[in-house]
Symmetry: C2
Subunit: 441 residues, 2 copies
């Protein structure tokens, strides 16, 4: 045993989350609710490794490295920690193509890693909760509506009511750029417009000037992304515009997505068409969405995603179009906590603390076994403290009942139970204890 007295200061890496048990229970309950909703739509769980070969995970980046990516070398392998769940999922689908049934609907809640400068609401290790649907060859556009609908029900299930999806379609944007004879600038345009919320209209215009877009086209673009109104207002405006097949295809898809979201039960309070939404990532090919808390539009988005028809192209020649959405689970939890919007929930997992009042613990353990067998979570306090400390322990952990076990209780085959909230105390039979605690939720 190394008994040397040199201490290492215990600390957790900046940007890494470590919750106390009561917060952890809240987080876990929220994740469990999300899982249940995803399963109710037929999404199946998968769990990919957090580490991949660099050449596999960075296939898309063409071997380029990124300062945010955690890289390591082990033996002969260059490894990276996943920076999202989407790229490893594309690999999973390509790898297991012959074993999966399509359309393949999956969910995954797992950790991802980005070495960002740590700041509020930005983590270096964070949970994402993803759903995706992958088709074999084709994938009906209704799936593009099902994805935000499932996320809608997930948010509802965890007690969030004030959120809204911005919805757009990359084909409309790219079609519009083509009409403006700016096809070659499409990537840059998407990237610059994506910054609108962060840098504002003037800076966006400046950046457009910097990439040599004509000022009349800039005006056109700014007017376009500023089209406001109900989905139908916007559709009508778009229909009157100069267009091309790509534009019309996108518009048609967007109409269907909005229409189907309504069928899935979403009222118009929960989504809006937003032509300024571009999503930074270049793998989206059609529908795109992003969600945020309705009352906090200035805060970061809580989910985002879209249609990607070619994400697996780095791994396979098979056409495997997909659509998906990521909830930034850690970020969402952090936001809800900060805004004091975490739903009220019971975070105590134990119904009763058993406090033995005698040396022999036989009867206490017997009672604990019986209660557990009846599905009543409980815990025995064994340590040698004064009674007040023991009672405080129950109170601090939010355990609602204390069961006292003394000689008399054992002799009469009873227990003494105290309701911490009402302070009511009674000596009752084991059967009555089971009914009392079994009833409580």
């Amino acid at each position: 045993m190394g008994k040397e007295n040199i201490k290492v200061k215990p600390r957790t890496l900046s940007g890494f989350i470590e919750l106390l048990p009561n917060k952890q229970i809240q987080f876990n309950k929220i994740m469990d609710s999300i899982k249940s909703v995803y399963e109710s739509f037929g999404f199946l769980p998968i769990d990919t490794p957090i580490m991949e070969l660099a050449e596999v995970l960075l296939a898309k980046a063409g071997g380029e490295t990124d300062k945010q990516i955690y890289q390591l070398r082990k033996g002969d392998n260059d490894l990276v920690l996943r920076f999202d769940l989407t790229v490893p999922f594309a690999k999973y689908v390509a790898l297991n193509y012959h074993l999966l049934k399509f359309p393949f609907k999956k969910y995954q809640i797992g950790k991802a890693y980005r070495g960002e400068r740590a700041q509020k609401g930005r983590y270096r290790e964070f949970y994402q909760a993803d759903i995706d649907i992958i088709g074999d060859g084709e994938l009906n556009v209704i799936n593009d509506a099902e994805i935000p609908s499932a996320v809608y029900y997930a948010f509802k299930a965890i007690g969030i009511d004030r959120f809204i999806f911005r919805v757009n379609n990359r084909k409309i944007l790219n079609g519009f750029f083509e009409v403006l004879a700016l096809k070659d600038n499409a990537q840059d345009l998407l990237r610059i417009i994506d910054k609108l919320d962060k840098i504002g209209i003037d800076e966006v215009k400046k950046e457009l000037v910097n990439i040599n877009i004509d000022s009349n086209k800039i005006d056109n673009i700014m007017a376009f992304i500023n089209i406001k109104g109900t989905p139908e207002d916007i559709f009508m405006t778009l229909e009157k515009m100069d267009s091309n097949p790509l534009f019309r295809e996108g518009l048609n898809e967007l109409k269907q997505v909005i229409n189907y979201m309504r069928m899935y039960g979403l009222s118009d309070d929960y989504f809006k068409v937003d032509l300024s939404l571009t999503r930074g990532l270049d793998y989206y090919t059609g529908t795109i969405y992003e969600g945020y808390l309705t009352d906090y539009p200035e805060l970061s988005s809580i989910c985002g995603g879209g249609r990607y028809d070619n994400l697996t192209e780095y791994y396979t020649d098979k056409k495997l179009p997909g659509v998906g959405m990521t909830i930034g689970a850690s970020r969402l939890f952090g936001l809800l906590e900060e805004l004091d919007l975490l739903p009220d929930m019971n975070t105590n997992t134990v119904k009763a603390l058993i406090i033995p009042l005698m040396e022999d613990k036989t009867y206490s353990i017997k009672i604990a076994n019986i209660l557990r067998e009846k599905g009543i979570n409980n815990q025995i306090y064994y340590e040698d403290k004064n009674l007040k400390s023991k009672i405080n322990y129950a109170i601090q952990l939010g355990i609602p009942y204390i069961i006292f076990i003394g000689e008399e209780e054992e002799t009469n085959n009873m227990i003494t139970i105290k309701n911490i909230e009402t302070r009511e105390q009674q000596t009752i039979s084991i059967e009555d204890t089971i009914s009392l605690l079994g009833m409580e939720k």
Copy 2:
């Protein structure tokens, strides 16, 4: 869009687990059962990062590096991936000491990383399911019995019935070595005896000779670790031996642990005292245990742990004794799968596949919404395939019912439902559908 036709072969790192959804569902259900049992004993969830500062995680190792440890550098930090959940937990307790309530009972199911040579049953990324109890200053020995008892109920809950714990106490071993005047060799002796199962008696003897143990003492040691019988037989033999206070303290603890395990409901089929059990890790100070599948003693252990009174000493001067056990969750799952011992369980998460037989999906989505609202998981098949493919999809995914929605069904506000197993098909109202599917488990 990088449309270049160069493909990267999709593959998963050797030693890393990636399950297909039906296996993932089995694994998740097993983990959920384990969690429920742990919570029924009052263990609370925590979730520590998978990465720590090298100086923090390797505090115990005194900065030494280990070939098995995944290390990386990011910015100014030397980082390591955790190789178990125990050391990060010790850090967590030291760090959060003032915010935790003691005795602190925690569980954690998470991934750990070891760059071992990949071989059957050995993974480089693997789940561990840990429980631990930490006391503030003291920790009653009954906790040493509660730990394997909780694991016992966890195994029972996941349908494993044939397993057994080997139980021993380090104080007996160290006391015995002291009596033999081998106190200075204690670490080596524990390490060598630990290899008994792997290398056999003769090799152990050879290694003892190599560290210059007298042959009569070797005979003594071999006789000692070979003492067999019921716990009471062994206790009686030990009581008659030359002893010292440490030895008697260990024996007394071991008796109590066995006694309390019986009180917790474990029959003698589920544990045995085994004086040859030493556990390799040097942080154990008292009770030690290891569990294996009764019918496969030659296979690797499925859980292990023990009492560690000084694990947090690298981080704090506070005395925080603990006891815990780790289930090798990935290894256990792999073993059960290999031995065909995975309990039968329902791995389909969806009750009905809805197949629209008409272009307009409004009524299908309406039915899906209603069923989901009633807690009936379902999925709509939207893709353009022939009917046979759609029915096969349900069969392959193990979905028990198909609901057909055509014009007639919509007109009459009915649905046609087919039970895949019985092939029975009927056209019924939505209410009847809810009762039919809601009843099914």
